[in-house]
Amino acid sequence: MKTLSLQPLTRVEGHGRVEMTVQTGRLTAVRLVITESPRLFEALLLGRSWQEVPALVSRICAICSGVHRVAAASALESALGIDIPPLARRVRELLLLGGHIESHALHLFCLTLPDIAGTESILELLRACDPRAREGLALKGLGNHIQELAGGRVIHPVNVEVGGVVRLPPREKLEALLAELEEWSGRLPPLVEGFADRRGYPPATPALGTRIAVDCDDFLLTGRSLRFSDGRVVAGERYGEVLEERAVPWSNTKHSRTAGVPLLAGALARLENAAGRALAPVLPEPSAAGIHGNNLAQGLELIWALREARRLVRELLAGDADAAVMVAVRAGAGVGTCVIEAPRGLLIHHYALDDQGRVAAADILTPTAINQAAIEAQLLADLQGVTDESVLIERAGRIVRAYDPCISCSVHVLKG
């Protein structure tokens, strides 16, 4: 018996490694070992005022800082029985889209494209004046620009508070953004098409895991229930009954399953679950490339996100510039849950407040924690027949990367 180790995992966010057990030339077991240090966010929130939560939880993860902040504010609003003004909702949705665009562009062009092109990093691609790298970075910059406008700050945005948003983005900046978005509509599809080419990916078996995503309302990233690919639709606040979490000795992230089966969250799961609703694929079926189809699914979501961003900016421009975007908050006791789609998949925030509005319990479930069991199962399934050790190592890295794992998000966990 021999253990092969892919360490460190590179071009992913966070620290981890893959351990593969090989017996008489055959891969028999795989572990994704997440070594990232626990940051105990749920513990540090205990006893703090509701007002402090959004700013603190955004620090779980930089790439997902906007969606964490929105999730916390929404969960607390539901705990306190608050409805936020419609324009504030639009600003938050725009912030989510900015994060989605930035995160997907980062993953596709900075982290995945080097694999497809056979290089170590995007820096070599830039040196070689690869147009995909240049355009991909520009797209990533667009996502950041949107986050800056809607969130007030690129990383750890400050515009979202419990009760709404601090302000509407200034009119002239929204107009400039609209022009920028229009200009992108022709540029984007050819960029995304590159991720549809099966030749860019290693051979793969079908993506494993019961798909899980927010049962979206009119906006792909938000809703009140969870939808599973096995047909179940479950109210968001009942997440604890359907997601079975357990700690495993080898990883600092807990494993999730449902009915004993691994779960798959993320762009591919969202598209499959929302099939025929929010957006119909315009390019080849993303699912055909196994888990690597998650890349194309992200590409398709980029096209959707730019379209939605244009709609939202138009709505914001048509809205009353003097309308309230924040409602007064009366602190008190309550319990609230928010289910939302982060770029890498389902994210759940859940809080209980005491009668003074202090956090009595907090629970945060992140997409990478949800995906961890599926990642291990997929590695084993896809790499079964591979005997060459260097190929094993190389492919394992690509499979893990296809999930776009966010390891710093995944290790904050605490269950009371």
Partner: protein, 248 residues
Amino acid sequence: MKKLRLAYVRFTSCCGCQLTLLNCEEQLAAIDAVAEVVAFDMASSRPDDGGPLDAVLVEGSISRPEELVELLRLRRRAEILVAVGACALTGGVNVLAHGDRIELCEGVYGECAREKLTFPPQPLCRFVRVDLQVAGCPPERSEHLQLLGALARGGLPALPEYAVCMECRQRENLCLLLEAKQPCLGPVTRAGCNALCPSFGAICEGCRGPVTEANRAEESRLLLGLGLSEREVRARLERFSGASHEDP
């Protein structure tokens, strides 16, 4: 000009400081022209050659024995070690989880907790000489670019030693603290972000840590006057500064 041998590593953190460098989309090619990026796991699969470094940028606090070993190794390799961001400078929000760490970990991981050998997150300066501290949670893109520019020229950037309010007044913003009666921490927070948040219309949360000679007593008095409780005032002032947070 010889290229700067540079590494950007991270320990216990959120990746925000490193991501800020990757967010300099338009300058990445120029950075690549002056610096040889020896290690930057988040962005590159190039294997670290383990050789000497002109400079290492370090994000994050130290909370595991392996991290400490790696930090000491980096210190030996690097001419200049720069602590980047609140986590590296003071522990940042990581140190807010107070209480017995084993117990906290047990709360998280149940019986598996013993396997997770960690200690309370510590700033880098507890263990090694730090040549420069770049504040912020995260420090802005412009500060990353100034830092790399100065390092490429063989120097270190000058850091402002005044409060965010200075920059805020230069930008002629409405004062959120005095005029809008909101708990802005600008007066006690060190500048360098060009008063980013108040210029947007949101209060300064103090993410860059305390400015030297901060008048904390006066700030506390103002915040109490806005109706915050003593406990809330303390929590706000200590969020990014790593000051010991006592149990209420």
